[in-house]
């Protein structure tokens, strides 16, 4: 087993275990902190796949902004943040069955891929993935249109948020 595989297995175990804790823990604040661990594990996976930019953006956006917002909102809602009562419903087996079916389907789909079982190719030295990504995002024959549409959408959301939050002038 190579070092990469060891790290991947440890990391996958961490993600799955923490994901389980997110849905089973009774304290809301603990659930959001376990979610942070899950997101961090995914960032490590990106780093193993030599996508350093994605890994760091994952930490900045998901942990630095979204998870912090979650925790902030949770802290402001209730004083006693403990859930009481049973954590399952009587029909819990239906989504579990669907989940299992999707998992089996995904496993077959991945095994069927031609790239299955191959080791990742090394990015040759001198290729700046970050620069290539940046150029692809703004070049007309690549992703400039989706990029700009997403920017306008975000700007509209920003303006909308400011409009809703601003005090009405009589």
């Amino acid at each position: 087993m190579t070092a990469d595989q060891t790290i991947f297995l440890l990391c996958a175990g961490l993600i799955l275990g923490s994901g389980l804790m997110v849905v089973t823990t009774r304290k809301l604040i603990h659930a959001s902190l376990w979610l942070v661990v899950v997101l961090f594990g995914v960032a490590i996976l990106y780093a193993i796949l030599q996508a350093g930019f994605l890994a760091v953006v994952q930490v900045v956006v998901y942990i630095g902004a979204i998870a912090i917002l979650f925790i902030f909102a949770v802290m402001l809602t209730r004083k006693e943040m403990l859930d009481k009562g049973t954590q399952t419903r009587s029909n819990w087996w239906i989504p579990a069955l669907f989940g299992l079916l999707i998992l089996i389907g995904l496993i077959f789909l991945i095994i069927g891929q031609p790239s299955f079982g191959r080791t990742a190719t090394e990015i040759p030295a001198g290729v700046d993935t970050l620069r290539n990504l940046g150029i692809a995002l703004v070049s007309p024959d690549a992703y400039v249109l989706p990029f700009e549409v997403a920017s306008i959408l975000l700007l509209a959301a920003l303006v909308g948020a400011v409009f809703i939050a601003s005090e009405k002038k009589e």
Partner: protein
């Protein structure tokens, strides 16, 4: 390759030869060498931290017209060790109702969020942790972990003052992250890379502090806000919320927060040196002359880097002990209505000018950049002056009209 020109690689090659000679596999040897390297870097940072405590206490004493620690050892040099012993043998108190695991995790995370920054800090061209091509983004990501640590510490303490302090700190850090990211983009544009080594090498001829003084100012202000030091120390405003997020921590757990803050300040001083003062280099081309080629020696470079970082640390201390704490609404208004728009204007101007002036000779490029910053700074000051005058006039019940002569000016 010899020890004086490339110490780290020399030692690592020697260790590799030794370990593989013992029959260890190549992969395991790499892991062991990296672990040793990481340990040495962390130990270096922590030992430096002890020195920083002494520097901080001596410098603040001078600012406040005192002598500072001077009883134990020459110039009080042994005082930090006495402090450490005191912190270690203090009673370790966990408040009732505290979330034990998170309560203990808080200080560790706070220290770790600083230590991981040292991974990308370029001490010299040969002595550094790793040269990421996303270095500056990594700096922002480490800040996100710092925010998390304070939120966790404040919540887990089960104390309303701690929680209030944590809330204030998070509001502070999240809002000042925006001008900081924009300010970080300016060296990125000027150097055409995000790697800290690349940015340092791009400044061998001219410091970015001269090309873009406004970006330096914005970075300094938002770095102080991110550190939570005065004038942005609302998180521990002792006259309002006693001590903020670390109110319940005692002994070495408090010590970790304190040491983490000092090391964080020094690390930001280091990043200021890297981004705007040429890092370990930046001798304006002096090192290319044969007589001064010793400036390229990694040991000299480490000394130069630490001196520049210490200067940044001193500036942050200077501001801390000269400014009163600002109110929270002023803090937010200053960020959103002043710092963020200014940072965006500087960014757009720099981006356009770096393309327009690219064809000019170096002196034209430098002068153009510098004067564009001066013009933006002048316009900003004028706008602020007009706004302040209008506000003062409305407070006095005068119409916010134009001033006809000097006597009417308020």
């Amino acid at each position: 390759m010899n020890f004086l020109n490339d110490p780290i690689n020399f030692i690592s090659a020697w260790l590799r030869g030794l370990l593989t000679g013992w029959g260890l596999s190549n992969g395991l040897t790499t892991v062991i060498i990296y672990l040793i390297g990481i340990t040495i870097l962390i130990v270096f940072a922590m030992v430096l931290d002890i020195a920083l405590v002494w520097v901080e206490r001596k410098v603040v004493a001078r600012f406040q017209d005192r002598l500072g620690p001077n009883r134990i050892g020459p110039f009080g040099l042994i005082q930090p060790f006495a402090d450490i012993i005191k912190l270690i043998i203090k009673e370790d108190i966990t408040p009732s109702g505290a979330d034990k695991l998170l309560y203990n995790l808080g200080p560790v995370l706070a220290m770790a969020s600083v230590i991981i920054l040292w991974a990308i800090l370029p001490l010299s061209s040969k002595v550094f942790g790793v040269d990421l091509n996303i270095g500056l983004l990594y700096l922002v990501a480490a800040g996100a972990l710092g925010t998390l640590s304070i939120l966790v510490a404040g919540w887990a303490s089960n104390n309303k003052y701690a929680l209030l302090g944590a809330f204030r700190m998070v509001a502070n850090m999240i809002s000042y992250e925006i001008p900081m990211v924009v300010a970080l983009l300016i060296p990125t544009i000027l150097a055409d890379t995000m790697s800290v080594q690349g940015i340092t090498q791009a400044q061998s001829g001219m410091w970015f502090a001269i090309l873009s003084p406004l970006a330096l100012l914005i970075f300094l202000i938002s770095a102080i806000a991110e550190l939570g030091r005065s004038p942005f120390d609302l998180n521990e405003a002792e006259s309002e919320i006693v001590a903020g997020f670390h109110i319940e921590y005692s002994g070495m757990k408090f010590g970790l927060f304190y040491a983490g803050e000092l090391l964080h300040a020094f690390t930001f001083g280091g990043f200021m040196a890297v981004l705007f003062f040429g890092g370990y280099g930046g001798f304006f081309g002096l090192e290319k002359i044969g007589l001064f080629s010793w400036l390229n020696n990694p040991f000299i470079q480490v000394v130069v880097f630490l001196a520049k970082a210490m200067f940044g640390y001193w500036v942050i201390m200077w501001i801390k002990y000269s400014m009163p704490r600002i109110r929270i609404d002023h803090m937010l208004a200053f960020n959103w209505k002043f710092l963020t728009p200014l940072a965006l204007v500087v960014l757009v101007t720099t981006a356009i000018l770096s393309k327009v002036l690219a064809g000019l000779p170096t002196w034209g490029y430098v002068l153009g950049m510098f004067f564009s910053n001066l013009v933006i700074g002048f316009i900003t000051v004028e706008i602020m002056r007009g706004y302040g005058r209008k506000q003062r006039r409305t407070e006095m019940g005068l119409p916010p009209q134009k001033i006809q002569n000097k006597e009417q000016a308020v």
